[in-house]
């Protein structure tokens, strides 16, 4: 192992992760827990059946404030920020002029003149530079506010009842992809009904000096330690949960070499809104048709496909695995991959080159996992 060039960044929960036995790894320049003593499998399953607690404070926050906040952001992102109402969040992307992805993000409308962009940890600095570089004479104030927030995600079917013990706001009234300002255990917070696991749940944004208090109080409220209580979860479970739910991870399914249309994210590319960077390229690609497409697959042979491995179709190398892993809840080995669009239908037989051994796999519909809605 080589020493990292820069000292890793730490979230406000770093000491607590270590004290609780979290195994720490580097992720996007941050020192983060990859798993806790319960292990990835247990953390994943507990999140599906009860609740999991995740430190996602490494995510970046970019604050955009001023009368031009919405038109300014709307020039840079692919989804239509004018459709947001106060207290609503929207999945969106920063795109290059070629329609490829600089980052995927959430846009929160705090007020008509105030947006908060939630971006990926490893891309925060790049996004910040990109956004600043497109400032013209807009009446907005831009601030990289990443250090002003901790972010704690409570996910799973029991998330709502656990968090409700700590706040007076009726959580059932917060709709999916909406949020409220409200105290959680007296800590002023943004309570957002969003997540990255395929489960119902909340993401809580609060001042970093309150992170330990919130973390501990949520674990207590969720009966951490009992067989059906909340479990603190690491990045490995976060990854397998999002993969089962068929969600993209920046740097894997999407990056500056993949377009939104190829990644099945056409639904956040609003080509008919006012102009945005990448709109023209995406409109052209939509007209001409994409050549390759992101698909889900299930390995039918014994064995596990991993990130980066080659996909073969009819014996020809035809694409590569963007994410491959065991799926702990589905008890299958799954993955996502780019394949030529003519071979992208469910049922298509493919092979994955797993360290020189060709494993049979089959394209299946995405998402792999969808929770039962009440």
């Amino acid at each position: 192992m080589t020493a990292p060039a820069l000292e890793l960044r730490k979230t406000a929960l770093n000491d607590l992760h270590r004290a609780m036995g979290g195994r720490m790894v580097e992720f996007g320049g941050w020192d983060m827990p990859v798993q806790y003593p319960a292990g990835t499998m247990a953390e994943h399953l507990r999140t599906r059946t009860h609740a999991g607690l995740f430190d996602v404070s490494h995510m970046g926050e970019i604050d955009v404030r001023g009368p031009d906040a919405i038109p300014f952001v709307n020039r840079l992102v692919s989804n239509d920020a004018t459709k947001l109402v106060d207290g609503q969040a929207q999945y969106s992307a920063l795109t290059t002029p070629e329609g490829t992805v600089i980052d995927d993000l959430l846009v929160y409308r705090l007020a008509e003149d105030h947006l908060l962009l939630i971006v990926n940890a490893g891309t925060t600095d790049k996004d910040w530079d990109w956004i600043k570089s497109h400032y013209q004479n807009d009446d907005v104030e831009l601030r990289n506010a990443s250090a002003e927030y901790c972010q704690i995600a409570l996910q799973g079917p029991d998330a709502i009842s656990i968090l409700q013990k700590l706040t007076d706001v009726p959580l059932s009234e917060i709709k999916y992809y909406h949020f409220r300002y409200a105290p959680v255990d007296t800590v002023p917070s943004i309570i957002s009904r969003t997540g990255y696991t395929g489960e119902d749940g909340f993401e809580v944004y609060a001042p970093p000096d309150k992170a330990e208090q919130l973390w501990k109080r949520i674990l207590d409220a969720g009966n951490f330690g009992s067989d059906d209580g909340v479990l603190p979860c690491g990045l490995a479970a976060r990854n397998t949960l999002r993969l089962e739910a068929g969600m993209c991870l920046y740097g894997h399914e999407i990056d500056e070499n993949t377009t939104l249309l190829e990644a099945n994210l056409g639904w956040i590319a609003k080509l008919n809104k006012t102009d945005f960077i990448g709109r023209e390229a995406l409109a052209k690609q939509k007209e001409a048709g994409i050549k390759r497409k992101l698909v889900g697959f299930e390995v039918t042979d014994r064995g596990i496909a991993r990130d980066g491995q080659d996909v073969l179709i009819d014996g020809q190398r035809a694409g590569n695995v963007t994410s491959g892993s065991p799926a702990p809840f589905l008890k299958k080995n799954i993955g996502m991959a780019y394949v030529p669009v003519d071979f992208a239908d469910a049922g298509q037989r493919i092979q994955i080159d797993v360290r020189g051994k060709l494993l049979a796999a089959e394209i299946v519909p995405l998402p792999f996992y969808k929770r039962a809605k009440n």
């Binding site: 798993q35 292990g39 990835t40 499998m41 990854n239 596990i304 360290r355």
Partner: protein, 129 residues
């Protein structure tokens, strides 16, 4: 702390060897399984396959990662722990017992003398951290 039984020999790749006559029983250490996390898949050779010391004879996979496993001694595989294909979690639960991987008929039994003792292996894992 990881368990390191006194009666075994250890490699720097975190395998253990238990000598039984001219047969070596081989598995991965408690420390190794702790580092890997939940083992979900174990790929092993077939009985009759031959390996030289330090050859890779298979792989062990957790949710997150794949690790090759290396044989510390030369010889022909006499028996493979087939039960690991359906119950790979045995590697986590009982790495020195039911989680054993292969039994090898040693062609150079003297090789075990160059492996680490329990005390040496414990020092080695501490130094690695």
């Amino acid at each position: 702390m990881a368990n390191v039984p006194d009666n075994l020999h250890y490699s720097k790749d975190h395998e253990w060897v238990r000598v039984d006559g001219d047969t070596a029983v081989i598995g991965i250490t408690d420390h190794a399984q702790e580092q890997l996390g939940d083992v979900v898949y174990v790929e092993l050779p077939k009985a009759g396959d031959e390996f030289a010391a330090n050859d890779s004879f298979g792989s062990v996979e957790s949710v997150k990662a794949v690790s090759e496993i290396f044989t510390p001694v030369s010889g022909k595989v006499a028996e493979v722990n087939q039960s690991l294909s359906d119950e790979p979690e045995k590697v986590n639960k009982d790495p020195y017992g039911e989680g054993w991987m292969i039994k090898t008929k040693m062609s150079k039994p003297g090789e075990v003398d160059s492996l680490l003792t329990a005390a040496e292996y414990e020092d080695f894992t501490k130094a690695e951290e």
